[in-house]
């Protein structure tokens, strides 16, 4: 359990392929910080650098004030959970969890006691004599988590731990991770491409794109006030309005920065007349469960509009109303 300070981390393959660009990040003691981004944005690379599985090329990583950039992976005392579980196939569940403890100079009784205790907290005690191949994916990931926690790591690293699980297990597992993380006050870095699972359990989220952090904030702040167009698009904003156009048409909006775009969530666009309106033609209607989504072709391009009204006809004209308070200003990008 410790605070992590990442400074100016850089990594490039060959000459011109930069994976991470001068990346700095601080993770507070006991905090669960997520790194959210599309595949190829460098999030897994970053986690591998922190873990020590990849050597550091430039920059430094400090844990509780100590520079660990040159400490080999097996001496870092970090816990890691892999997407593919990566359990030791030739060991029982008990042996898998106890493996890390055996490295530490502890008596057999203490190892056994600690292993059993972590197996109990993770609900695996009944499976302790089974082999990994006899377990379901969800159970295997639980073992993987137990194995990582057993060594009482300074930092817990989670590399897309939920991606191989089906929808129901995913929610169960993420709640389990959250529960254990809070209980043990474990400093945790959680890498994922799924905004829902990361918003649900994170204290803060770092949205990454092309080797850079675009926005670092609480889940609420990111959801309500995405800073850049990339972040907005990644978390489900689909409607973009250029400020120039808005000014030309006499819209009122909060104009506080030099950004070029405004954005709005599909559910915040209303149908109505007055100021801040835009005409368009409905081209499609999709049922989303709790509402209907209309795709409206306008002079600004496609707008997605979520509403309870199912009676708008495809092909008909619609006047969309954009409330000033719902329009979010993006920063220049």
């Amino acid at each position: 359990m410790a605070q992590i300070k990442i400074e100016n981390l850089t990594l490039s393959y060959q000459k011109n392929k930069q994976i991470l660009k001068d990346l700095s990040l601080e993770i507070n003691n006991g905090e669960l910080l997520s790194i959210l981004g599309p595949s190829g944005c460098g999030k897994t690379t970053m986690l591998r650098l922190i873990s020590g599985l990849l050597p550091i090329q430039g920059g430094s990583i400090k844990v509780a004030g100590n520079d660990i950039s040159k400490v080999p992976v097996y001496k870092r005392n970090f816990g890691m959970v892999f997407q593919s579980y990566a359990l030791f196939p030739h060991m029982t569940i008990f042996q898998n969890v106890a493996f890390g403890l055996k490295r530490k100079k502890l008596s057999k009784e203490v190892i056994s006691e600690k292993t059993l205790s972590i197996l109990k907290t993770t609900g695996l005690i009944d499976l302790k004599d089974r082999m990994p191949s006899e377990l379901s994916g969800g159970q295997q990931q639980r073992v993987s988590l137990a194995r990582a926690l057993a060594i009482n790591p300074d930092v817990l690293l989670l590399d897309e731990p939920l991606s191989n699980l089906d929808a129901k297990l995913r929610i169960e597992m993420r709640e389990e991770i959250s529960r254990l993380q809070k209980k043990m006050k474990m400093t945790t870095i959680f890498v994922t491409h799924d905004q829902e699972e990361c918003f649900a359990i994170s204290d803060r989220v770092a949205v990454m794109n092309k080797g850079k952090i675009e926005q670092l904030d609480t889940p609420e702040r990111i959801y309500q006030h995405p800073k850049t167009r990339f972040v907005a698009e990644f978390i489900g904003y689909d409607n973009f309005i250029s400020k120039d156009w808005a000014t030309e048409h006499g819209w009122s909006y909060n104009d506080t920065n030099s950004g070029k775009y405004l954005t709005i969530r599909p559910e915040n666009i209303k149908v109505g007349t007055g100021n801040n309106t835009l005409k368009g033609k409905i081209t499609a209607r999709n049922f989303l469960g709790d509402c209907y989504q209309y795709i409206v072709e306008t002079e600004l391009g496609r707008m997605k509009v979520d509403t309870d009204n199912k009676d708008y006809q495809i092909g008909s004209e619609l006047t969309l109303y954009f409330d000033k308070q719902s329009l979010i200003e993006l920063e220049n990008k």
């Binding site: 001496k75 593919s84 194995r147």
Partner: protein
């Protein structure tokens, strides 16, 4: 469609027959009571098997062949395992070039390898026959070892190794505690196949054979030059049995489809 199936199964049957029949005849003649190999046999006896063990050449040859095969397979594994680990784990320049080098002995005629080794190791460097023979057999085994272990290593998720590093084991300890146990089937299969390859080899062995160094397959050839009695059949059957037994073990642990 039906006639096609029948046709192919007839062909298959004929091929099988051609493969099995000579072996069957060897097996049957090994029990024949006449002093010359003849078929069909007129009487039944186990004397020829007894006679195999009365021939010092055969007994010594068998011992020597066993020793050489075990040593050659072991050394090939000791070279092959680290080589395969490096080839599958590290970014190596000219990787395919290295892979070709390791697999090369399988492409060059064995008799050429035998001659070349004889020329260089025995004649030029004056190495003892036994050592030279061992080198030759190792070269012979290496391609099998490399190929089988590469397949085994590819099936093994590297993340498992990383997981062991993460919980505090350095790379060497991890290699022995995590990697080796998980590729042991490939190691066993590679050992068995190497053993068989070495044990049955003639082309290389022929060059490194001498009064002081007697190997079973060459002993059989030598024996045949002077005698034509069913002892040869009997020793052949023994050789077949050893090979078949080892192949069955390999099959049980790995499945023959992976061996080829």
């Amino acid at each position: 469609m039906k006639s096609k199936i029948r046709f192919s199964s007839v062909i298959g049957f004929i091929v099988l027959l051609l493969l099995i029949l000579p072996l069957m005849i060897v097996i049957i003649t090994s029990f024949g009571s006449e002093t010359a190999i003849s078929f069909p046999i007129k009487g039944f006896t186990l004397n020829w098997y007894h006679n195999v063990f009365q021939q010092p050449d055969f007994v010594e040859g068998m011992k020597m062949s066993f020793i050489v095969a075990i040593l050659a397979a072991t050394i090939a594994l000791l070279i092959g395992i680290p080589a395969v680990y490096a080839l599958t784990h590290f970014q190596i320049h000219h990787k395919s070039w290295f892979q070709n080098i390791f697999l090369n002995p399988a492409l060059i005629p064995e008799i050429v390898i035998g001659f070349a080794l004889y020329q260089t190791l025995v004649i030029s460097f004056g190495l003892p026959l036994f050592l030279s023979l061992l080198v030759g057999h190792c070269l012979l085994c290496l391609p099998y070892v490399i190929r089988l272990l590469t397949a085994g290593m590819m099936d093994f998720d590297n993340r498992i190794e990383e997981a062991a590093w993460m919980v505090g084991y350095n790379k060497i300890v991890t290699f022995f505690k995590v990697v080796i146990p998980n590729i042991k089937q490939s190691i066993l299969a590679a050992f068995i196949l190497s053993f068989i390859t070495s044990f049955n080899n003639i082309p290389i062995t022929l060059f490194m054979n001498g009064p002081s160094l007697n190997m079973l397959p060459t002993s059989i050839l030598n024996y045949l030059e002077n005698n034509y009695d069913p002892t040869v059949s009997a020793v052949s059957v023994i050789l077949m049995l050893i090979t078949a037994a080892l192949m069955m073990i390999a099959e049980k642990y790995l499945g023959l489809n992976k061996l080829t």
